[in-house]
Each structure stands twice: as structure tokens, then as C-alpha cells.
């Protein structure tokens, strides 16, 4: 329905009021109760034409519409741009800094350890053996830097996957995430075999591996 003066669509209630006024102008004797009765009859007719199944489907569609609108609002409230542009890059930078700092500290420890090895070479007997045993243990312990580095790399990969998935969900809803692009995940050729360090509860230890190798 259009406004005759402005040629613009009218709101539903306003249009109905306008129509009722027109009817009353043309038929001044028409009772409001008669109009109400006619409108009710029309609505009943429409309603009667829908089967129970169609009515149920209609209600479900309306409910889905409300849910989608609500989800869109929630996604908008999440400020996805902040997550992908600021939060995740910040987290990955922090993790990279951890790797860098532990590498720096480990190298300082190794340097001191190498100096102790040089000292050990200048002494003999029990003192030399004790010094070497101590430096061996330090070298072994410094392996933590490699393991933690690989674990952190895995976490960074997981964060990037989450970032890509969030962007994908937002883009699927076509709202709130305008400008958010899915980050392509790099897949190495033998990536299915590159799992990195396992948590102790899920890992095979050296004796398990020795047994497995012996089976061949």
C-alpha cells in the first residue's frame, strides 16, 4: 500500500487505519463492529487454509528467524574484529616472545656449561667425572627449550585455526564480521605425521619405541 501524496509504502497499522477511514468516508453508515467482523472473518479464512502441519512449520520458521536475529546480535557483541585483529595476534606475539626469551636463557646456560666442560678437561679423577656428570645433566635439561618451543608452535597453530573458524562463522552469518577474512591454514605434505610433542599421558616413551622397532 502506498501513500498517494508521497508514493511511499505505508506502515501496516497506518495503512489499515487509512483504509478504514476511506471505507467510512464512502459508507458513513457502516458500524465499526461490522468492519471488525469482516476483518475477523478474513483472518479466520486465511488461518483455516493452513493445515496443522503448515502452521507448525510457520511457527518454527518464525522461531528460527528470531534465533538468527538473536545470534547475529550476539556475534556483533563479540567484536570479532578485535579477536582477529588484536587478541589473537597479541597472543601469538606473546608466545613467540616466550620462545625467544627461553632460547636466549638456554644459550646463556649452555655457554656457562661449555666453560665448565673446559675446566673439567683441565682436572682429572673424581673431580673431572663429577663435573662432566653435572654438565651432562644440564645439557639434557636444556632440551626443554626445544620441546616447549614445539608445544608453543602447536598452540599458535591452534589459535590461528580458531581465528579462521571464527571468521568463517561470522562470514556465514553475513554480519558483524565484515572485513574479517578466513586465514588459510598451511598444510605441509607430511603434516599428518607431524604432531609435535605429545602430552606424557598420550606419548610413547623410549622403551615403547625400542619395543616397536624390535618388532620389525
Amino acid at each position: 500500500m502506498f501513500d498517494a501524496k508521497n508514493d511511499k509504502p505505508l506502515g501496516g497499522v497506518q495503512a489499515l487505519k487509512r483504509k478504514l477511514t476511506e471505507i467510512r468516508d464512502r459508507q458513513p453508515d457502516t458500524e465499526p463492529a461490522t468492519i471488525t467482523e469482516v476483518v475477523r472473518a478474513v483472518l479466520t479464512t486465511i488461518s483455516d487454509e493452513l493445515t496443522a502441519k503448515e502452521s507448525s512449520l510457520l511457527r518454527e520458521v518464525e522461531e528460527l528467524g528470531r534465533m538468527i536475529a538473536s545470534t547475529k546480535s550476539e556475534i556483533a557483541a563479540l567484536r570479532v574484529d578485535d579477536i582477529t585483529d588484536r587478541d589473537i595476534p597479541f597472543a601469538t606475539d606473546e608466545l613467540d616472545a616466550i620462545v625467544e626469551h627461553t632460547a636466549h636463557a638456554t644459550n646463556a646456560i649452555l655457554e656457562s656449561c661449555e666453560l665448565l666442560d673446559e675446566v673439567a678437561a683441565t682436572v682429572s679423577g673424581e673431580a673431572a667425572a663429577k663435573l662432566q656428570a653435572a654438565t651432562t645433566k644440564i645439557y639434557e635439561a636444556c632440551g626443554f627449550q626445544d620441546i616447549t618451543g614445539q608445544r608453543i608452535t602447536k598452540v599458535v597453530g591452534t589459535l590461528k585455526t580458531i581465528e579462521a573458524k571464527v571468521a568463517h562463522i561470522v562470514s556465514a552469518f553475513g554480519t558483524a564480521g565484515a572485513g574479517v577474512r578466513a586465514v588459510p591454514v598451511h598444510v605441509a605434505s607430511d603434516a599428518d605425521l607431524l604432531n609435535g610433542p605429545q602430552l606424557p599421558a598420550h606419548a610413547m616413551d623410549q622403551s615403547d619405541i625400542d619395543r616397536l622397532l624390535a618388532d620389525f
Partner: protein, 128 residues
């Protein structure tokens, strides 16, 4: 037959710290001729150009992984008998099976200790 500890050993890892640790542990068991490579590609170039008696390699490296390096070594007529020890954090059954199928001489899981490294080297070189 005694092990020739004067042999050239190539250690391959993308973590400099790890290279330094392995080099020092090898030095403690009298392997002093140690060269380093940061990934499989560099390692393969050094192996083809040099004269090495043992390779100790990490698995997870780019662009060429330790497994790909092993496959290249075993496919190379001059290098195919090279003793090759994999030292890696990859500890799943399928990893060990894949490495064994590719011809690995032995497999050490990280974190490892000096005694395990010494034992595996002696075991591998005893079969040469």
C-alpha cells in the same frame, strides 16, 4: 670392532639450541668432528659434498623434513648405507613405523638423555 670416533657426524635440527646440546653431548663421548645443518635441504647438500659416517636428524623441519631427508639418503647410491638416527618429539606409533619403513637406523624420542644417545650411536655403528 672399535668405533671410529674421528668420523664426521652431521647433526640436523632447526633449533640452534638443540644442535648445541647434541654437539656438546657428542663431544663428551669423544665425537669431536661434528657439522651442523638447519634442515633437510642443507643436510643433503652437506652429505653429498662431504664424507660423513653418521647422521643424527630431527624430524620436524622445513622445507625438507627429517623423514624426507632420510628418504633422499636411502635413494642416493652413494649415501644409502649411511647410519641415520632420528631424534624427534614425534612419538606416535605411525611416526616410528613410517621412519622404520623409510630405513631409519634407530629412533630416539625427545626429551632424551645422554646415555640413550650413546647407547643408540654405539648400537648403530656396531652394525656398520
Amino acid at each position: 670392532m672399535p668405533i671410529d670416533k674421528a668420523m664426521n657426524v652431521l647433526i640436523v635440527d632447526d633449533y640452534k639450541t638443540m644442535l648445541r646440546i647434541i654437539r656438546n653431548l657428542l663431544k663428551q663421548i669423544d665425537f669431536n668432528n661434528v657439522e651442523e645443518a638447519a634442515d633437510g635441504t642443507e643436510a643433503l647438500q652437506k652429505l653429498r659434498a662431504g664424507n660423513f659416517g653418521l647422521v643424527i636428524s630431527d624430524w620436524n623441519m622445513a622445507p625438507m623434513t627429517g623423514l624426507q631427508l632420510l628418504q633422499e639418503v636411502r635413494a642416493d647410491n652413494r649415501l644409502k648405507a649411511m647410519p641415520f638416527i632420528m631424534i624427534t618429539a614425534e612419538s606416535k606409533t605411525e611416526n616410528v613405523i613410517a621412519a622404520k619403513a623409510a630405513g631409519v637406523s634407530n629412533y630416539i624420542v625427545k626429551p632424551f638423555n645422554a646415555e640413550t644417545l650413546k647407547e643408540k650411536i654405539e648400537k648403530v655403528l656396531a652394525h656398520v
